[in-house]
Every structure is written in C-alpha cells, then in structure tokens.
C-alpha cells in the first residue's frame, strides 16, 4: 500500500512505529496531488512548503514525545475553516486573496494533537450547494467518474479522500454537506450533533445548523478525528460542557447483535429514489439483520415538511451571516463604490455567485417585515415537530438506517434547476434540523452503464450519541467487508 492511500489510524500507527516519517508521508500526499489533482480538482491551494515544514517539526517533536494522537498526520481542510496564514476563500471570488489572521478552534485542536494542515479543498461557494458546481474558483470531479460531480458542499474534501489525494479531510455539514459527498465518493462522513464541535473560526452559513466533521477512509479514522474536534469551546456558546466519551473505546467489540435499527417509512416511500440506491440500501438492511440487528419500522411523520423548513431557515440565517461581506474590512470591494449603498450592493454583486445571491434574496424575503411570522416563525415551530419525531423514535430504537441521497453522483451540468438540486438533501436535512448526529458509510456500488458509482447509507443516532453512532458504524463497516 502506498503511503498516500493510508487512513488516519494507519498513518498515525506507522508514524508512531517509525515505519516512515511525517515528511515522507506528507511528500507522498504532495506527489499524489501533483500527479492526479489536475484531473480531479479537489484542492484550491496547497502550501507544499508550509506543509513540509510542519511535517518536519512533527518529526522533530516525535523524538521528544510519542503521545500526540495525530502527530505528523497531514489532513486537508475545507476552504472555509480558518488556518492562520493560509487562504480562506469559501470558494468565493468575494474572498480571493484573503489570508486568515487566526486559527479556528478546530484547527487549534488539530494542531495541538500534532496534525499537519496540508492543503485547502474546494467546495460550493459559502457551502451552498450539493455538487461543488457552485464553487466560484474551480471544478471538482468525482474520482470514480470524472464526468460526474463529487457531491457538495464538501465536494473537494470528499474527492480528495475518495481519490487518495489526502489521508483525511474536514468538511462542514449544514443540511447534508458532509454526508452526501461522502456517499458519492465512497468514504465515511460524520456529521456530529449540533454543538458537539466548535464553529469558532469557521465561516458561518446557517448558524442554527452548521457543524464541522471528519471525512475519512474508515470509521476508526472518523472516531480518532472527532475525538480531537469535540468538546466545549468558550468561543462558541453553542458547545455544551458535556464530557466527550472515549470514542475508540466505545467501538471496542462493536457488533450488530441486538442493535435496534429503525427504518423510517417516510424515507423509503419516496418517488425519485434511484432503484440502485434502493437495492443497496435494502441489502445493507438485510446484512444488518443477518448479523443480529433487530429491524423496527418507525415513522417520522413530519419528514415531508423538512425540506421546506430548511429552505426557509438556512437562507434566512445565511442572509444575516453574509451581511458581513460589505466590502469594508475584508473581501472584495467594487471599483464602483461611489457611495455607501453602492459600496455594499456592487461589492456583493461582483463578489457573490448566483446560488449565494438566490439564497440571500430568499433569506431576506422570509425575514422581511410582514413575512417573518408566516415563514421563519412558522418554520421554526414545524422544526420543533420534526425534532420531536426523532425524540419519539429514539425512545424505541438505537439508530435509524436510511439512504444518504436519492441518487448516486450525477453528471456535471446535469442538474440545472435549483429546486431539483435541493432535493439531493431530502434524507440528510431532517436530522440536521433535529440536531442529532449521523454518518454516511460506504455500502456498495450502483451500476450506471459501464461505470460503478459508490453509494453510502446513513445511520442517524440521537443527539450526543456519537459513541453509539460510531459503534454501530464500525459494526456495519465490518459487515460490508470494507
């Protein structure tokens, strides 16, 4: 196995056993990126010198101590998480040329654990999209079929890991942006519960939903990275002081025996569910049952409203969050800023791409005078009903097993209508609204003409039960022989 193919756990163990150095490992990733990324386009920028310098420092630190969990492990960062001294463009022309003046809390945690921040990966502009086609800075292709999208919005992260152009990557998930690209690129994508991981230093999209999470080659890797990310941060008031379990320990002896798996009927009774996705999901269900899991049909009755609730709440919050891009303190400023209105309106017109503009307008509309109660207010109440649906089913089952997205990766340019694109997140959005944790795990390959396209399944667990999610995920991973 070549070094760039390693996952986090294998890399960390190899480094600890001094089978190879961090410089060798990081160089292997760099070589792989040089060789392959011209066709895949996962990375926006890669500071090779900086990464190698951090790797060298990690190798030197190794002589003094061997107890840092990620010492010398290079990881790719979605281009909306601030790493001091690196660009942070959010894949937007608005932030071209921006250099982060500080580290996000997740980056501080990663650096403290010894990780090397190596490369910044593409995404849909400001994390708005499901295909990475909304990037204002470049095209990312699916490593399994270069004519197809990698998913989104964390499409660069998924393509980098799926194509072995990274050991692991970090993404963010607001309505499915970790899980859907993970499914499209044959990797594990974990969306932690709301508040489990700090967002300080992560460019905000929809603040009542955003979470940072690991995108990895295995469930073990996801656990190792979550361990480093999770916990209270006084710079993010949504992170509770609840203790963080030992996730690797939680996975010891993982088995499907006696696990109660809920199958929400609303997720299986959907028009537009691709027959191959249905087949793979059905096979996943059967293999869990054969391994001793108990299947329970459950109902989440308000599922059909989740998309509508999300496409009110997320744009509303986005329109408020993106008000900071005004051409004053950072980001693009229009040459035609002759007065203050034009400074704002023209800088934003020139800096933002179409999807971001659409969502700002949608969000401003649903928050505007006379409409707030009917849209944002009402959506927030329906959100309560969606949350209660999950609370009820988690009294009966340990986890839910569902498809991740209705289809495998689609062709670049195939989906033109925004509303059709939004439907990609049909199965991931309800859990985001409820704030629970979920994970996409590779489950099989869909046959599409001559190509085989990866398809994942989603496990959803109750909020702050990442220990249970990882344990079940680990057991599932063993079943599918990955």
């Amino acid at each position: 196995m070549s070094l760039h193919e390693l996952g986090v756990r294998q890399a960390a163990e190899g480094l600890a056993e001094k089978k190879f150095s961090s410089v060798e490992l990081t160089q292997a990733v760099i070589d792989r990126v040089r060789e392959k990324d011209s066709e895949i386009g996962a990375y926006l920028t890669f500071d090779e010198e900086g990464a190698l310098a951090s790797a060298k420092a990690a190798d030197e630190a190794r002589a003094a101590r061997n107890d840092l969990p990620l010492l010398g492990v290079p990881v790719a960062i979605k281009d909306l998480i601030n790493v001091k001294g690196q660009p942070c463009t959010c894949a937007s022309k608005m932030l071209k040329g921006y250099t982060s003046p500080y580290d996000a809390t997740v980056i501080k945690n990663l650096k403290a654990a010894g990780a090397v921040c190596a490369g910044r990966v593409n995404m849909d502009e400001f994390a708005m999209g499901s295909s990475t086609e909304n990037s204002g800075l470049g095209v990312t292709r699916n490593p399994y079929d270069l004519s197809r999208v990698p998913g989104g919005s964390s499409g660069g992260s998924a393509a980098a890991v799926g194509g072995n152009l990274a050991i692991a990557a970090f993404g963010t998930d607001t309505g499915g942006s970790i899980r859907q690209p993970a499914s499209f690129c044959n990797i594990v994508g974990l969306k932690p519960s709301y508040g489990r991981v700090s967002r300080f230093g992560v460019t905000a999209f929809a603040s009542s939903l955003d979470q940072v999470g690991p995108m990895t080659k295995s469930v073990d890797d996801a656990a190792m990275l979550l361990q480093v990310l999770a916990g209270h941060d006084e710079m993010d008031g949504t992170t509770p002081k609840d203790p963080v379990p030992d996730y690797m320990k939680a996975m010891e002896g993982a088995s499907m025996k006696g696990v109660k798996i809920g199958l929400p009927k609303e997720y299986y009774d959907v028009s537009g569910l691709d027959p191959e996705v249905k087949r793979i999901t059905d096979e996943a269900i059967r293999s869990c049952e054969a391994a001793g899991a108990e299947l329970v049909e459950v109902s989440l009755p308000h599922t059909e409203y989740a998309m509508a609730v999300y496409y009110i709440i997320a744009p509303a919050e986005a329109s408020a969050n993106l008000a900071r891009f005004d051409g004053v303190r950072y980001g693009h400023r229009s040459e035609r800023s002759d007065d203050v209105f034009n400074l704002y309106a023209r800088s934003r017109a020139e800096g933002f791409g179409p999807e971001v503009k659409r969502r700002i307008i949608m969000g401003t509309y649903v928050l505007s005078s006379g409409y707030y109660d009917a849209y944002y207010g009402r959506a927030s109440k329906v959100r309560t009903l969606i949350r209660r649906d999950f609370e009820e089913v988690f009294k009966k089952v340990d986890t839910l097993l569902t498809p991740v997205a209705p289809t495998p990766a689609f062709k670049i340019g195939e989906v033109q209508d925004p509303l059709t694109m939004y439907l990609n997140d049909l199965f991931t959005i309800p859990g985001s609204l409820a704030g629970n944790c979920s994970m996409s795990i590779p489950a099989g390959f869909a046959q599409s003409g001559d190509v085989k396209l990866p398809v994942g399944v989603q496990f959803i667990c109750d909020a702050y039960r990442e220990d249970s999610l990882l344990r079940i995920g680990k057991a599932f991973e063993g079943l599918s022989g990955k």
Partner: protein, 99 residues
C-alpha cells in the same frame, strides 16, 4: 400565508445586492418556485408549539469576563480592500462631511 409573489428587485435592494436585469428575471422565476415549494408548511398545525431556534438549546452560555488579547490592529487591517495607516478607508457616508 401570503399569496403575493416575491418581488426580487425590491428584496435584493433590502439585501444590498445589485442585480442585472437578466439576473432579476432568472431569479424571479426560480424564487417564485422555491417560495411556492416552502409554502407547504402553511398546512401544518403549529398551535401552541414552541419554536426551535437551535439544534440544541443552551441558555445563558457565559464565560469569564476577563480582558484578553484580540487581533492586533495590523492583523485586523491586513485584509482590508482599502486602508489608511490605521483605519479602513471608506467612501463618504454622511452627507456634507469630509470624505
């Protein structure tokens, strides 16, 4: 729920977003479809239901009120599109004032 359609030109102005005529016409149609789609929530009975404003509600997340270093001025100004030595440079905002 409102039966009027969204007026994209007006809302874009509220959002401080200049649109071309072409953008206005494309967004008008797309956003009418999206607004129509989200109106399905009007049929849900939400009488007596409390709103959910966060994935997990935390009340009064305080931290110690202590003085701590923040970004120094040079770091804060480093990404400014236009600046003076110690300030962000802006077009005139108040009528009659010096630029």
């Amino acid at each position: 729920m409102a039966n009027q359609t969204i007026d994209v030109g007006y809302v874009a102005e509220l959002a401080r977003l200049e649109l071309t005529d072409e953008e206005k016409s494309v967004f008008q149609g797309q956003l009418e479809d999206i607004v129509k789609y989200v109106e399905k929530i009007s049929s849900v009975n939400v009488d007596g239901i409390e709103p959910t404003m966060h994935g997990r509600a935390i009340v009064n997340a305080f931290r110690e009120d202590t003085v701590r270093p923040s970004l120094d001025r040079e770091a804060a100004l480093a990404n400014a599109p236009r600046r003076t030595e110690n300030e962000f440079y802006l077009p005139k905002i108040v009528e009659g004032a010096e630029s």
